[in-house]
Assembly symmetry: C2
Homo-oligomer: 379 residues x 2
């Protein structure tokens, strides 16, 4: 297995900024990965994603194995060729989505059997099958180990049993991954919000020799404060020289506070999901363009974001497009949000390099304080 | 009222190719106008519409007067600024859409009262109000007279009564339009499929002094052959030096056969509507990308069309996007279809200039024979 060189170029407190070097290109960190669930970042052209500043996107094993099918993607040349994204790509293992199916899955020690949400057909994921799909069939540059996500909240006993299973599946994932020369595999730390379990999981995962470490079991309804606390209890047990990735996070304030704690990578559907529902994320905070106050507002969504969608269309036009149910509304707003999240990461990276991250953090967390998620508020 | 200079540069048989000069730019004819119903050409960015080769787009009075409201568009700077289209724009009068409302409208000699399909609110269109909306509030470069569209089929008596009303409304539209220096107004010939009525209507409309002549009451279920016959019975009564516009037409074969009969302008929602439903229009005829045969087809939609959507994405990817219900499917296919329709018009223009239109027509009508609409087949 390749361990991609991770060049940390500047630090401020626990933050780090640098470059993760992959055979398909450089990933500037801290990095936010737009989510391309089914081989498309929803409502965006890939050149918009690239121009917005994204170095890497994420693909979803669960969705792609069901439709169009992982073997089919392989026959069509792999996910990069299929989707038209030529840069680095990370895929999730499918574990999180299968876990989300709740009543439609059945876990055992070797994997999980589940029913497709599309047609009810039965499928099975094991650590080895997930690696085969991600690394062989989709052709991910970064694969994720199959793990089990626990419900939040859960008991100490449940979390302990689950992380033990995830550690076992991590080892099976590594074994299946073998000695691929140009691809890497990340492990996943679980343990819910129990400090002793996060420590045990982190030490176990680190000892297994992955190319990067992810924190799983977050963004599942624990709320902003608990997310921060969980990161805090995990980071001390991670090596300095591997990239750290918080999966499924998050809102802009979550990104800032995670970076402050030493996180390097993120993914979240929020920019495009919000974009489809009329919510813009801006330097001034969230804005719902469907609100009547914008019906005759000629100002742009956020002139400080260097993207046509942010700068060249009036809020009045956005308002109209969403009221009329036009495609262009979600298209433009997903584009703006994607560009804003990338602009935020670029500013975070620059602020670390210039030794002013804490000042930036203080300003943004004050401005965005009202956007903090409460526990289970969005579970 | 301005009469835009119409420079006919080449002819072959009854066909003509040239340039209609407007203060906002040149319109190469024969021209196909993409439809921007509510201030957006559905699922396209305006720069894609422009790059595809469109010189002019169409806006809809009915939709815009209801939402966001014509006065609001005016306060926001007019439809060009609002929508981001800086080239020439034609608006319809609202008459056709109101006619389509059937049970929700009430005609009288002075206009039509109707209920909004959005919220049931009551509105009224008169010839003068339609002109006010189009020319003053939306700021159309080319406005259309308010007319009454007749059902197809209808009796000679109904068609006669209706065209008499439309002639009266045409004069009221002209009176309301006044002496605007940089905008023009087109009249509309009605008369269903009765040769004597089309002649009477054409002579009446021509005598009123419009800046262009439209043929109305087509693309309402009469079928391809009847459409051609109606054009044939009308053209002899139109002056050579004014642009001729067939409203709401049509399929590629309709465009070819209409141009052959001396038509200069078209508009239709077909490229974008088909694009949202998985149907591609290509030089080889229509292709439904949802068909299973394309699931692993790596060929592009139509490599002969110089558009990224036509050339750079596989049919397999299109198939997947439509099966998965992804935004990008309609986005790409509406883009391709728009580019194909523009490519068709460009080739038609060039073929007239090079004296080979009849050869092109023979080839295309043979290839596309199966696409001819039957009467009422799509009414």
């Amino acid at each position: 297995m390749a361990i991609f060189p991770f060049d940390i170029q500047a630090r401020e407190g626990k933050t780090r900024t640098g470059v993760l070097h992959t055979p398909r290109g450089e990933i500037r960190t801290p990095a936010f990965m737009p989510v391309g669930t089914t081989g498309t970042v929803k409502a965006l052209y890939m050149d918009q994603v690239k121009a917005a500043g994204a170095d890497i996107i994420l693909g979803n094993t669960y969705h792609l194995m069901l439709r169009p099918g992982a073997e089919r993607v392989k026959r069509l040349g792999g996910l990069h060729k299929f989707s038209g994204w030529s840069g680095p790509m990370l895929t999730d293992s499918g574990g999180f989505q299968v876990w989300s199916l709740a009543q439609l899955r059945k876990m055992d020690a070797d994997g999980v059997t589940f029913q497709s949400h599309i047609d009810g057909s039965t499928h099975r994921l094991t650590p080895a099958r997930s690696i085969e799909i991600q690394a062989d069939l989709l052709g991910a540059d970064i694969s994720m180990q199959l793990d089990e996500c626990t419900n939040f909240p859960c008991t100490h006993e449940e979390a302990e049993r689950s992380l033990t299973l995830s550690l076992d599946w991590g080892q099976r994932s590594l074994d299946a991954f073998g000695d691929r020369e140009s691809q890497t595999l990340f492990g996943i730390v679980q343990g819910s919000n129990f400090a002793d379990l996060r420590e045990r999981s982190a030490k176990g995962v680190v000892g297994q020799g992955f190319g990067g470490i992810a924190l799983g079991g977050l963004a599942v309804g624990e709320g902003h404060e608990q997310m921060c606390a969980t990161i805090d209890m995990t980071i001390p047990h991670l090596p300095d020289d591997l990239p750290r990735y918080v999966m499924g996070v998050g809102k802009p304030i979550d990104l800032v506070e995670s970076v402050a704690r030493g996180i390097d990578m993120f993914d979240c559907v929020l920019p495009t999901r919000s974009g489809r529902h009329g919510q813009a994320w801006t330097w001034a905070g969230p804005v719902n363009v469907k609100n009547a106050q914008f019906a005759e507002d000629l100002s742009p969504i956020d002139a400080a974001v260097d993207c046509p969608a942010s700068r060249d269309y009036s809020r009045a036009y956005y308002h109209h497009l969403f009221k009329a149910g036009e495609y262009l509304g979600p298209m433009l707003l997903s584009w703006h949000n994607t560009a804003f999240f990338q602009a935020l990461m670029a500013e975070i990276r620059l602020s670390i390099r210039e030794g002013r991250f804490e000042a930036l953090r203080a300003r943004l967390t004050a401005d965005w304080a009202s956007t903090k998620s409460s526990p289970k508020a969005e579970a």
